[in-house]
């Protein structure tokens, strides 16, 4: 519904409606990418097997096979959880918040980013469940009437997490699907045989009636408004897991906005990591132009500056509090045990992204790709610093500890990466990766201005 927008052009060349359809439909089931797709999904399939093995291990021998022990009960499983949820946020930002802000450039990337959101939530959602000592009782988190007469206690951020992540997953899914229905109708009308039937079922008999469109657009806008508040709340609630606790390094009031900014920062990094190779692979450079990447980089820089401010605020208020435990942790970060990790994070998340002030850096796909990988790593390490280094530090000298992930920890992380790539590849093969119905509007606007 981004109507009456500025007169900038967001596709390369003079694409008309038919050309956009051909280009996007051509990426689905394309014979050109068939061989490379098979190789890629074969490798990702190994990752899914790794995940299955990791899950089997933790179900069979329980969570002790991970490196968690007193006092570090939250290892990289929670690091991964926060990281994956964070990655999910850029998808919602692109599809919902940029819709409210009437940004036409979101149209080429929103479908792709939303799919990324969905699969990232699926990966994130596994960790809190696997991390339970008794995962088979996970359903006790649900408020349902039962013969024991117990209820979950609604004072815990871990119960809030359950509500937040479940709502986020559900709403992201319906938002994605609502936007997808008109494109599935296009796929139905351009396919034959079994494929046409399958797309036809998922398209629900969409006919593009004006009344249907009006309700569809209204619903889409309403969902965007809801998803915007949701995206801010979800990572806020994830940050409550830490901020509600009393621990130095955790009990920080700046966490909610700072976690949300970090989520957007890492999410855009993942969008760029995936978009840069995929647009070359699928031949979509005419629709996902260098300007799209430029704008993603600008938003990444903006979020990165808020994250940098978050680091500064943590340091300053740690010192300003005058609390000996806070100051101890600070000293550990600046020149103590956790200093190498801390300064590595500063380098990856604060120093390197400053290159994005320069247009040449934003227009260089190679540099953007390298930088996005660096930020993905940097944000993962940042969650490590928050979760694990704070726990290792603790309050009492006698309860200090050291944590290092075991083979099973790493296997679970690698498994979720494989799972994520596996489903992204399936998505690219069977679903139009770019929202055709939204791009068609862009053509219409261009023509109206030209007329």
């Amino acid at each position: 519904m981004t109507r009456g927008v500025d007169s900038e052009r967001w596709t390369e060349g003079e694409l008309d409606l038919a050309a956009i359809n051909d280009l996007v439909v051509g990426t689905v089931q394309s014979p050109r990418t068939r061989r490379s797709w098979l190789v890629a999904i074969g490798i990702a399939g190994l990752g899914v097997l790794a995940l299955a093995l990791a899950v089997f291990g933790v179900f069979w021998w329980y969570v002790g096979i991970w490196g968690v022990d007193t006092p570090v009960y939250w290892g990289i499983a929670i690091t991964n959880f926060v990281w994956w949820v964070g990655i999910a946020h850029a998808g919602t930002l692109i599809s919902a918040i940029l819709l409210l802000a009437e940004q036409p450039w979101r149209r080429s990337i929103n479908r792709f980013a939303e799919a990324m959101t969905l699969f990232a939530i699926a990966c994130a959602g596994m960790f809190p469940l696997l991390h339970l000592g008794r995962p088979e009782f996970f359903y006790w988190l649900l408020p349902y009437p039962n013969t024991y007469g117990y209820w979950p206690q609604f004072l815990s951020p871990l119960v809030w997490d359950f509500f937040a992540v479940a709502t986020y997953g559900t709403v992201s899914l319906v938002f994605w699907y609502v936007g997808l229905v008109p494109d599935l109708a296009t796929m139905r009308d351009r396919s034959t045989g079994l494929r046409a039937r399958v797309y036809g079922v998922f398209a629900l008999g969409w006919r593009g009636s004006a009344r249907h469109w009006e309700r569809h657009q209204t619903a889409y806008l309403l969902l965007a408004g809801l998803a915007t508040t949701l995206v801010v709340s979800v990572h806020t609630i994830v940050s409550f897991d830490f901020a509600i606790a009393q621990l130095p390094g955790w009990h920080t009031t700046v966490f909610p906005p700072y976690f949300v900014a970090g989520a957007i920062f890492s999410g855009f990094a993942m969008v760029l990591t995936l978009l840069i190779p995929v647009r070359a692979w699928l031949g979509l450079r005419a629709l996902v132009t260098a300007r799209h990447l430029d704008y993603c980089a600008r938003l990444m820089l903006t979020a990165g500056l808020v994250v940098a401010y978050g680091y500064a605020a943590e340091l300053f208020f740690g010192w300003y509090s005058g609390d000996p435990h806070e100051r101890d942790l600070l000293a550990s970060h600046l020149h103590g045990r956790s200093a190498p990790l801390f300064w590595l994070i500063i380098g990856l998340n604060v120093v390197l992204p400053q290159s994005l002030w320069w247009r040449a850096a934003r227009r260089s796909t190679v540099w953007l790709f390298v930088l996005s990988l660096a930020i993905n790593l940097g944000m993962w390490l940042e969650r490590w610093l928050i979760v694990i280094s704070s726990l290792e530090h603790g309050f009492l000298p006698t309860t200090g500890g050291a944590y290092w992930p075991t083979f099973w920890d790493w296997l679970t992380l690698a498994g979720t990466l494989g799972f994520f790539v596996f489903f992204m590849l399936l998505f690219l093969r069977f679903v139009p990766a770019i929202a055709m119905s939204e791009l068609r509007e862009l053509v219409a606007e261009r023509r109206r201005r030209g007329a």
Binding site: M1, R3, L17, A18, N21, P143, G149, Y150, W151, Q153, F154, L155, P157, V159, W160, F163, A164, A166, T167, T170, V171, V174, V178, P182, A185, T186, D189, R190, G200, V201, L204, G205, W206, R207, G208, S209, A210, R211, H212, W213, E214, R215, H216, Q217, T218, A219, L222, L223, L226, A227, T229, L230, S233, I237, F240, S437, E438, R440, E441, A444
Partner: protein
């Protein structure tokens, strides 16, 4: 009943179908429908159509939020009072978080559900799908439909009227 559900005029551009819709309204037809590959600005207004979907969103969100807030209060203050970390039993600040999430969930699901129900979807079979040219309604063609249930519908008049709008073609839609 002559087995005709209505007549369908095919256009190449959004502006053509918008002009045709306005002309049809002026000519007094009411059983009108427009089909397009993307939402054409102004067509819903030309058809005199407005949606009240936002009210459903609002009411569903309100109900969902109120229900989960009161439910949490009932659990902690009435049904199963536990001293958890010395906090008061009606710990309203803590209840806000699930309340917020369930408000969003209820509003979003109600919106999507209402949108599909009001649109009469899913409906996998429709007489329009029997028109071969209609498959381009989801790609790059625009259609104006005048239904046989229109009180002013007379096949020859409507066919002539649609022909006067300079469409690419006029298709019969059978029942």
């Amino acid at each position: 009943m002559n087995g005709l559900r209505g007549l369908l005029a095919e256009f190449a551009g959004a502006d053509d179908v918008l002009a045709a819709t306005r002309a049809a309204r002026r000519a007094g037809y009411v059983a009108l429908e427009v089909f397009s590959p993307y939402p054409v600005e102004g067509v819903a207004e030309a058809l005199g159509f407005r949606t009240r979907l936002a009210w459903i969103t609002f009411v569903a969100g309100l109900l969902g939020g109120a229900a989960i807030f009161l439910f949490q209060g009932w659990v902690h203050a009435i049904d199963w009072h536990l001293d958890i970390g010395g906090r008061r039993s009606f710990a309203a600040p803590a209840f806000i978080v699930p309340t917020f999430e369930i408000t969003i969930l209820a509003a979003a699901l109600a919106t999507v559900f209402a949108m599909f129900v009001k649109n009469g979807l899913p409906r996998l079979h429709h007489p329009l799908f029997a028109v071969p040219a209609f498959e381009r309604a989801s790609q790059d063609r625009f259609f104006l439909f005048i239904g046989a249930d229109d009180p002013r519908f007379a096949e020859s008049t409507v066919r002539a009227f649609l022909g006067s709008l300079a469409p690419l073609e006029v298709h019969d839609v059978s029942r």
